[in-house]
Symmetry: C2
Subunit: 143 residues, 2 copies
């Protein structure tokens, strides 16, 4: 019942990119250093994000990563789903019919309600929102 490192690292990496000049190509190694994230691990996370189109990778010399689309069109929900698959607060919410007792279970509607509230926030918050929040608060941090 906790946000994973994978998710946190991914979001921090994306926010970092959102704060760079647009279209600038940035090295994984740079992000990992600034954000104190294990480089190989971040690289693997970025692979998944670029398969999902959230990042664009540029291979070869002078390569690196940039955002796959404007930061205001990447939601937290997309990021999480790209990494962990469809959000499901309980197994019965991942796919219909996963649990036979679903129609009879008093918990099911509660999980639905909770998940709905959850997704509402994730879907309404973009990487740009996160980046701006740092700026607005006068925060610089390491990215």
């Amino acid at each position: 019942m906790q946000i994973t490192r994978t998710e946190e690292y991914a979001l921090r990496g994306l926010v970092f990119l959102a704060r760079q000049p647009p279209e600038k190509v940035t090295l994984v190694s740079e992000i990992s250093k600034e954000q104190k994230i294990p480089e190989a691990f971040l690289a693997k996370i970025f692979q998944r994000l670029s398969k999902a189109g959230l990042l664009r990778s540029i291979r070869g010399a002078n390569g690196g990563f940039s955002l796959g689309r404007p930061a205001n069109r990447i939601t937290m929900k997309e990021v999480m789903e790209a990494l962990e698959g469809p959000i499901g607060l309980s197994r019965c919410l991942v796919r219909e019919g996963e649990c036979e007792e679903e129609a009879v279970c008093p918990l099911h509607p509660i999980w639905e309600e909770l998940q709905h509230r959850f997704v509402e926030v994730l879907d309404g918050t973009t990487v740009e929102d996160l980046a701006k929040r740092m700026v607005r608060d006068g925060r610089r941090g390491r990215g």
Copy 2:
């Protein structure tokens, strides 16, 4: 990022008890059979719940469990915290100062917001609410 079996089993067990005549003493074995929950596992869970006062256990022959207090005064939040400790959507929300970058992190306020919404529901939903929901919907299920 998912409700655990432990939590689900606990809640289903409590709802089962809430639907019994008040003060009736019920065997773990009965609940486990009706609810299809591994008996030894449920017994363990019930131990923790009774240490937290959410259940009352009666030992010896003719023993068993009943609710530790009226079902309308047991919230989902209490159940979860009895089992998994303080709710913390991310490590920085479990205890202040867990992460050094907290003051600088754009994710932190989002997790706070999410967790707030989350806890709002958990805190506002009692075991009685869950049990009633089954009744209202004409659901019998196995509990």
